[in-house]
Symmetry: C2
Subunit: 235 residues, 2 copies
């Protein structure tokens, strides 16, 4: 936790907040904080700044707050991801939030196991929890938007063309395709497939929606590695 992220419910005045949950525990156990300490803070979806610990005991921490700094810029990106297996999903949500992806679409694909859609990690509170961990790690305050699209075809036919319009549309896909471009200057719509890859029908549909296949070399990476690798190349 490199940023103490505060939500509306934490505030008892415009410049004062009280914490009682996992963040209190973290202040004690990891930061080994004490009254008078100054900490980096952020207001969820708002500014960042600093907080002074007025009081810290076993049940509560009270902070005096000052917000004066905008959060870091987001990447100009919509990321489409074939729904990963639940354990991987948690880490990927953190990575996506940490790296500054503003919009994530979790999409179905032929090779996504149906059971993955049943995971409790897709519930809004569970998604939010992982995204907040990523924001706290990277020092950002703005929650990414997450869209859940359980039907590939209607999303890709009806909604993706508008999302991809005026952007560089790319599909990460192994094969005889151009390499993924580096350090692009424009907004990007990027689709990353499931373990085993998109099936040819899906690649065709993504192409029709304006996304061109690009490859990353002979090595096949896990999705949780492919995401940071592709983002680091593109931006």
């Amino acid at each position: 936790m490199n940023l103490l992220l505060l939500e509306d419910a934490d505030f008892v005045a415009a410049d004062r907040a009280i914490l009682r949950d996992r963040r209190l525990k973290h202040l004690h156990e990891v930061h080994q904080a004490a009254s008078g300490d100054r900490l980096r803070v952020g207001r969820l979806n708002g500014l960042m700044g600093s907080g002074t610990l007025l009081r810290l005991d076993a049940t509560e921490a009270e902070l005096q707050l000052q917000f004066d700094q905008p959060p870091p810029a987001k990447l100009p990106l919509t990321l489409l991801l074939a729904l990963p297996r639940p354990k991987m999903l948690k880490r990927i949500l953190q990575t996506v939030a940490a790296m500054g992806v503003p919009r994530l679409v979790l999409l179905n694909s032929y090779r996504v196991e149906k059971s993955f859609w049943q995971t409790p990690f897709l519930e809004p509170a569970a998604l939010r929890e992982q995204l907040i961990l990523g924001l706290e790690q990277a020092r950002d305050t703005v929650l990414p938007e997450v869209l859940i699209e359980k039907r590939f075809k209607p999303f890709v036919e009806d909604r993706l063309p508008a999302i991809a319009a005026e952007t560089l549309g790319l599909v990460g896909h192994p094969g005889d395709y151009p390499p993924c471009p580096r350090a692009v200057e424009q907004a990007v719509t990027l689709a990353i497939g499931p373990e085993g890859g998109w099936i040819p029908y899906e690649v065709d549909k993504l192409r029709e929606a304006g996304l061109q296949p690009v490859q990353l070399g002979a090595r096949i990476l896990r999705v949780e590695t492919a995401v940071p690798v592709l983002l680091a190349r593109l931006f």
Copy 2:
């Protein structure tokens, strides 16, 4: 497992192998393989090729093998990593092997918790197991070399200068430094710090050994994200 990796002990003839362990289980449960199937295979530290399943039952799989293809090239890189916490170490070892790092140095740092050095994941067989998972994922056969350096100063003073000589030496470190370069043409020696970063003394010592600090922007990434991000930028 995108490559079935065979070790010397698996061979019953120059072109024939028998499997009985986790790989047999994987053939049954994940690949749902059957006699006659052709699979991508590799010989540990050797060539890649294809294998035909002659026989597959509950206790054994027998393969007819043909090796005709070199493994993918490694990156021209020595990666120094402050020893990560054990859970993260496992994933990082897989990532390092999957991305083609030929040499990894696990190094002490002031901010590495002493208990991390006690983990059973540092034992040679445990290291090897994770590296092999990474090779199987990415389709490579050549095990990276892993050096374990529990003492920062003697390693950085006495051995690092020779490793870093004739390479582009870099330390990933947040701060007012040049951004990490992109798509470099030369060999690299790259040092990545622990959670919380190298301490100033360590940055000074790494500089003296020929490594220059570079930064990755305002966002603080977990080590397991910073590794693929830095490698994707550099190569």
